[in-house]
Amino acid sequence: MAAPLLTIELDPGPFQPLAALEGWHSQLRTRLDGLPAAESSFVGRVRPHTSAGQPLAALELEHYPGMTETQLQHLAAAAASAPEVAAVLVRHRIGRVLPGDPIVLVAVAADRRGPAQRCCQELLEALKHEAPFWKREWLADGSGHWLGGNTPL
């Protein structure tokens, strides 16, 4: 059983989820024996309002250079431990992200739909709680405040 192909990138600027998936598919076509039968993916975008309901000007994403990348690799490898999982893609924004912009993309290619869906879901939860990222909400008046945790599932 070949180890799953893990592709993980932090994006300091905007990324397009569909372009990211297209590039990943090209990579899989080269590295695997064609695209696997099941592909599950998730895209998270910045809401237009703060957790307190005010209009959001931007979301700032801080990370821990070095540890964040290593930790994402660990989390992806752990979530992809089912033998059916062939490949995992993670894209995650850092820096200033505007309302409506993609902030995270997780995609999993597997030989069966169950492992694809489970791995995608588990990895998303894992990175929300176990990868060192911190969000600050910025308002139009220039004030900002750090979030104390994540949105509920």
Binding site: Y64, E130, F133
Partner: protein, 82 residues
Amino acid sequence: MGHTPELRVLLFAALRERAGWRERQLAATRGATPTTVWGQLGLEPADPAATIRVAINQRFARWDSPLAGGDELAFLPPISGG
């Protein structure tokens, strides 16, 4: 006596802003742990373990993990990724 490499201490996000600094070098005293360093630096809150996590050399660690000179110690406020 040789030169003892120092501890490097990092703060992030809300923790960094509250403390007013991002990084400090500190002599690694014998028996140092994240708990003793936290107290030594006078960081808030006094009982951090409920909300703050620690990483040593970029891996999650315990508040009572032993520290050695040259280690990178980071205090991490509640994570909100994804």
